[in-house]
């Protein structure tokens, strides 16, 4: 339960709010408590002003300069307070967007999701099996028969080569079949990878071939193939240790998105929204 609470975005939010509040109080100097209508210039503020000036001019401000800068600060603070009091922040699209964005950034900070534990990752792996499943891997040798060049006799030629391959275990496979740009030997290929090389029809067939016996001919995008599947490692679920990095990356991505969404959901739940029906007539004087 406690763990749940600790994970709660709203809890993080409140925590962060508290931190910001404390920080601002500290900055204003712990001694001073500002009264309404009072502007307190703390040593923190002076320091900030001085630093900013120094960064621009490569020297600290003189006394007169500092006084001027403080006057600017005071004026800005007064205008700011008056503007907020008059509600000017609310109908300015830029202020509005900037503040909304600050919350958005804040929620992102909050959702710097904690390091996942083994258990989290294990659970994620189990509930997203398909994403991490290791596909069946096939190692095979293929010998190509060019239907374009051999024409009508291609099928019979392929059968003849197949018979030779089955009868003579010592046959040099490099001496039979036709020239082909794709290599004879393919090791540890998934069905997807085979499809990328030979087309999906061939891939669907080759996964069904029994191991250690010459089979065929199988058809591909290019012609006919005699196939020897040397090894087939059935697909399986990986152990967490094998895919930990990938699972962690995904977990963080998903958790981050979830937390942001949840954060918004909680805020959203505190409001009711009423959409007024569209006005049928144009208000005179408005565009």
């Amino acid at each position: 339960m406690l763990r749940r609470v600790l994970r709660e975005p709203l809890f993080h939010f409140l925590l962060l709010g508290l931190a910001i509040f404390l920080a601002s109080v500290a900055l204003r100097d712990s001694k001073s408590t500002e009264q309404p209508g009072e502007i307190v210039i703390t040593s923190g503020v002076v320091e900030q002003i001085t630093t900013a000036f120094t960064r621009t001019w490569n020297r600290p401000p003189g006394e007169q300069e500092l006084n001027g800068l403080m006057e600017d600060y005071i004026k800005e603070e007064i205008f700011y307070r008056e503007a907020v009091a008059m509600g000017l922040d609310r109908d300015d699209i830029i202020v509005r967007r900037r503040l909304a964005q600050k919350i958005d950034f804040l929620s992102e900070e909050l959702n710097a999701v904690p390091e996942p534990g083994e258990q989290d990752l294990q659970r994620y792996l189990e509930s997203n099996r398909q994403q991490f499943q290791i596909g069946t891997k096939i190692s095979f040798t293929q010998i190509y028969v060019n239907t374009e060049k051999r024409g009508a006799s291609a099928e019979a030629d392929a059968q003849r080569i197949l018979t030779q391959l089955i009868r003579n275990k010592n046959l040099d496979t490099g001496q039979v079949g036709d020239p082909f740009l794709i290599p004879d030997d393919h090791d540890s290929q998934s069905a997807d990878e085979i499809a990328r090389t030979f087309g999906s029809g061939f891939a669907a067939e080759v996964v069904k071939v029994k191991t250690d016996q010459w089979t065929g001919p199988l058809k591909s995008e290019y012609g006919l193939h005699l196939v020897l599947v040397r090894q087939k490692v059935e697909g399986r679920m990986p152990l967490l240790a094998e895919v930990k990095d990938a699972v962690k990356k995904e977990w963080i991505r998903v958790e981050r998105a979830k937390a942001k969404q949840e954060f918004y959901r909680l805020l959203r739940a505190r409001y009711t929204v009423r959409i007024e029906p569209a006005q049928t007539a144009q208000v005179p004087g408005k565009q």
Partner: protein, 643 residues
Amino acid sequence: MKHFLEMFAVTILAAAVVAPLYAQDAGTPDKEAIEKALPKKAYSPYAGRNFPTRPLFGDTHLHTALSLDAGAVGCRLMPGDAYRFARGEEVTSSSGQQVKLSRPLDFLVVSDHTDNMGLVTDLFAGKPEILADPQGRLWYDMIQSGKAVEAAYQMITASSEGKLPKAMTYSADTPRYRSLWQDIIKAADEANNPGRFTAFIGYEWTSAPGGNNLHRNVIFRDNGEKATQVLPYTTVPPLGSDNPRDLWKWMAAYENKTGGDVLAIPHNGNLSGGRMFPIIEPGTGKKIDREYAEQRSRWEILYEVTQMKGDSETHPFLSRNDEFANFERWDKVNLGGSEAHRPEMFEFEYARSALKNGLKLEKELGVNPYKFGLVGSTDSHTALSTAEEDNFFSKGAPYEPSAHRWEHVFIKTPHGTIMAWELTSSGYAAVWATENTRESIFDAMERRETYATTGSRMIVRFFGGWDFEAKDAQNRMPADIGYRKGVPMGGDLSAAPAGKAPAFLVAALKDPIGANLDRIQIVKGWLDSKNEVQEKVYDVVWGDAATRKPAVDGKLPAVGNTVDLPSATWTNTIGDPELITVWKDPDFDASQRAFYYARVLEIPTPRWTAYDAKYFQVQIPEEVPMTQQERAYTSPIWYTPGK
């Protein structure tokens, strides 16, 4: 909108490639699992060869929302999205459409424009420093009031003229620029998955003095540890420069500082106003010198010959006897539209004539500045590396699929107009690397063992040597004999043995889901005895050879056309799935410098405009091409006479 789009086009600067990742499915299995998974020794005695057996396909030029122009016109996808898309995942495009590649790519370079990188994301977010500037505020308000396109155009123009307000100038020494570079590196390092998917760190240096495109993409062999030690180069002084010589200095400084490795790939010579492959160096007005030639040939090993802003192999004006020279031609204006093209510019814009002039310059300077291999890439500004005709998400967010995208004006200037339908659905880079890793792919690029395609994933082999014979084309394993008896694409032949002419083993296999092949051609360029450059295109092997014979004048009849426009389909009933031959140069002169490269043509297939017409059921006027022939260009093999 149209108005805005044309402005957008003005600054479509450079290109990038993004690399995607694959979900890892390997980790640290126990011993038994390892033994079980290791394949038994191959049956074939040819096993264990260490040459590359499969080309890796990728994109070296891709932009995301971080690029000023891409972001300003609506790209919202970031480098991480670009990598995910390239490795085969489905994503939602900036216009809200679901999109996925037919097959994953093997590698990607995200190459965002460095000038003012990140400005546009900050502007959209209403960053106070920008809003405090009157001009920044004006543009922000324009965006808010629905005039984003005009604002984007004005900003792009101001940026390219170096007239952005200070608050909006994101030069390389600003904290925001630094942190973006870190983000870019992080996205690439996270997406990089050796063996499955390679994500390169890279950027585009977007130099366009006077609107003339001199863009280069810079690619790192290294990981973030080295790349974070520098900031990517920009074009605005004092920190940057628009002179390529200064970029080369930056590259040398990077390598000296970190012990790392970088290369640069120029693109869009066709929009350079005759300045991409100069003989007279722009700016100085002097003939290029040995220093220029040495530096250029050291850093610019590859050239991006085909991409969405047209094809730069050659031009009909330069190659009058080449019936396939007129392909996806963009020759009206330069990139900025500031200057109309004049025919005398073409010689210095297209790859084939640059390769030819390189021979001449080599003879004079002792170094060939234009000894480059070829790749294709997209230069998409949508973060989506799409180059296939039936899946074309185009050049920028406003041109993602919609019923009327084809009729927008892309660039409009007093000197010429380029329409959106002229955008080209192209291209990809094919690399003969032994492994899918940054190191292996980069090293293959450095030895120029690459070829360009216009989006197809056909396999192309090209070897040159002195001893190839006709029967080598019958060899069961063409690559095996090719590497044993010759050099691969990108390589060199020199000092012909007495009485011998170079012979080439050339082969192509169609894309497994693509169209059959029309023909393979070998393009030869040479420097004749009068010190003049020459070129000739030979048809060396073609489909349907039993019935399709050259005419008396030597011309091979067209392969035919099976395209059905209403359904946007074709059939593989013409052409061949595979072509292979050995060709010996019949006109060889051992005392003359030469280069040879292969061009492979597919049979005609529907162009992206035909897929649009069918899907959206729109009428597109006749002037818009609806079919095309996808093609591949290999890196050349050069011949140099002995002393």
